[in-house]
Symmetry: C2
Subunit: 339 residues, 2 copies
Amino acid sequence: MKEFKVIIMGFGAVGQGVAEAIALKKEMIQKDYGYNLKIVAAADSSTSAICIEGLDENTLVKTKKETGKLADYPEYGSNLSGLQVLDSVDYDCLIESTPTNIDDGEPGKSLTLKAFNQGKDVVTSNKGYLALNFKEIIDAAQENNVNFKYEATVGGSMPIINFVKDTLSSCKIYSVIGILNGTTNYILSRMTSEGSSYQNILRESQELGIAETDPTNDVEGIDAACKTVILANSLLNIPATYDDVEVEGISNITSQAIDLAKKDGYLIKLIAEVLPNNLKVSPRLVKKGSSYDVNGTLNMANVKTDLAGDVSVSGFGAGSLETASAIITDLISILKNKK
Amino acid sequence: MKEFKVIIMGFGAVGQGVAEAIALKKEMIQKDYGYNLKIVAAADSSTSAICIEGLDENTLVKTKKETGKLADYPEYGSNLSGLQVLDSVDYDCLIESTPTNIDDGEPGKSLTLKAFNQGKDVVTSNKGYLALNFKEIIDAAQENNVNFKYEATVGGSMPIINFVKDTLSSCKIYSVIGILNGTTNYILSRMTSEGSSYQNILRESQELGIAETDPTNDVEGIDAACKTVILANSLLNIPATYDDVEVEGISNITSQAIDLAKKDGYLIKLIAEVLPNNLKVSPRLVKKGSSYDVNGTLNMANVKTDLAGDVSVSGFGAGSLETASAIITDLISILKNKK
């Protein structure tokens, strides 16, 4: 059987979800696509585990959860990290799930470019460097003649990039308008149903692990703006970067504003708009019962096309296994092309 | 430039939509996929137009609309029809858009099997023979090593088959539940918003061309049941045929029943359920504001998966150009595989 050897860089929620998903799906991938999928290395921010024979997915997750360091992986733990790992073992594809960094895109950017230079495919969930340098990255993938897939950067388990590229390939895309951040949609949904204040719901969301300790990226619209850039480039061919997006978050939304909207049959949602002359993330009124009326951590997108008219999609915007599902789908599409 | 020669069999709303869509999209297909897409024959129920150099898409539509017969196509009109056309000209792909026939699947079935035997790819919008003989048709395509695509059989412009197969390929599919018939959804939506009777709204829908003169296939759930069979086979690997579906239509739904549901926050929708042990089309209560709350001729489907959780999609369930968009997407996916 042919082998497909992956390295997982970044072993937080998404990286661990990928390891778990590979454990669940490797038999199916063998059977349906004829490849033996192996994790030959996984790295957290400062250590790693490396073994050309393949690491055990569940031991990786267990080690990380118990000790916090992949260096503690039995026998194959290593103090190598970052770029060094890519030189330490033969592999076919980098799964890049390091944290999003909107200042300089690192370490994801350097890892991805190095993998390209090594002639390796890359699947990423990392929005940062794509929001900053989309064209540079896509060009580098093409120059090196490798596959680069990034469905997991937008929408969690909601397919949107492959959805438009593969299943609406006959259509010209006029716009994509949607809810691209699960945390803010959760906060706004609960403010609407409970009438509580932004601060109260934010605090509870943090306690539940739905909002991060520093919630800035989500609540100020930064995360949704990164996704807006990625959709603009990939689906509408707009050569935008992060600075081209007009961004306003939800931290100034009061429960009074939500109540007022509610009385007239409206909801307040953090809406991302991708139009040829308008890239914008902002709180907007949407009609109750419309396709934008999705609750909790759901994401949705409404795609306006020439032939197919309006097509909508929705799904869970976050979650470890949910985001991993997008990464495994990207891996499978690479394997399909190899056949 | 490489050529890709298609024959369009069946030149009603869908066939004409395909010709129009090819006229709109052939430049894009040349540019993006490197193929010169040509219609070398088109046939209605008794005549055809045939030319190996390629027919003009707009002249085909104009001829059909003006005289009702493709035999009147200038210079290249012919009295050949049906299977004979497939022997009369060299081609690469049959676009099979003859009417759905749930009794014996003809003429679509024979046309499709003949094309397979000739080693040709087939893209179809015809539900009949798939609802009756899904496995036989898929097996025949495989034996002849040809492509067979059928996105347009379900959901009009709403991607559902390619959506699940391509963009949720990492996931096991537990169920697909949705609204798969635009005409009945239109009738129920208007009964709900206007409080009118089924008979009144049906008559107006017929006048508007949304319901057919003989509305049986739509209102008795037959159309939705065919689609249920196709989704069961293609997405859940259930070897079902039409007789395995429990079917109840909407002709007995009264405005009183709709009003009663409305008072408690519910709507009545014709819901198709595809579950391993349950294939069913029936009027069901759905919550107002839920993902099943789509109006007019919209279709929607909620897909329950293992990794990605629940994912929903919606789009226009009918329309000539909308259905053609699914056919062109299927054509493009065949061209992509050829590259």
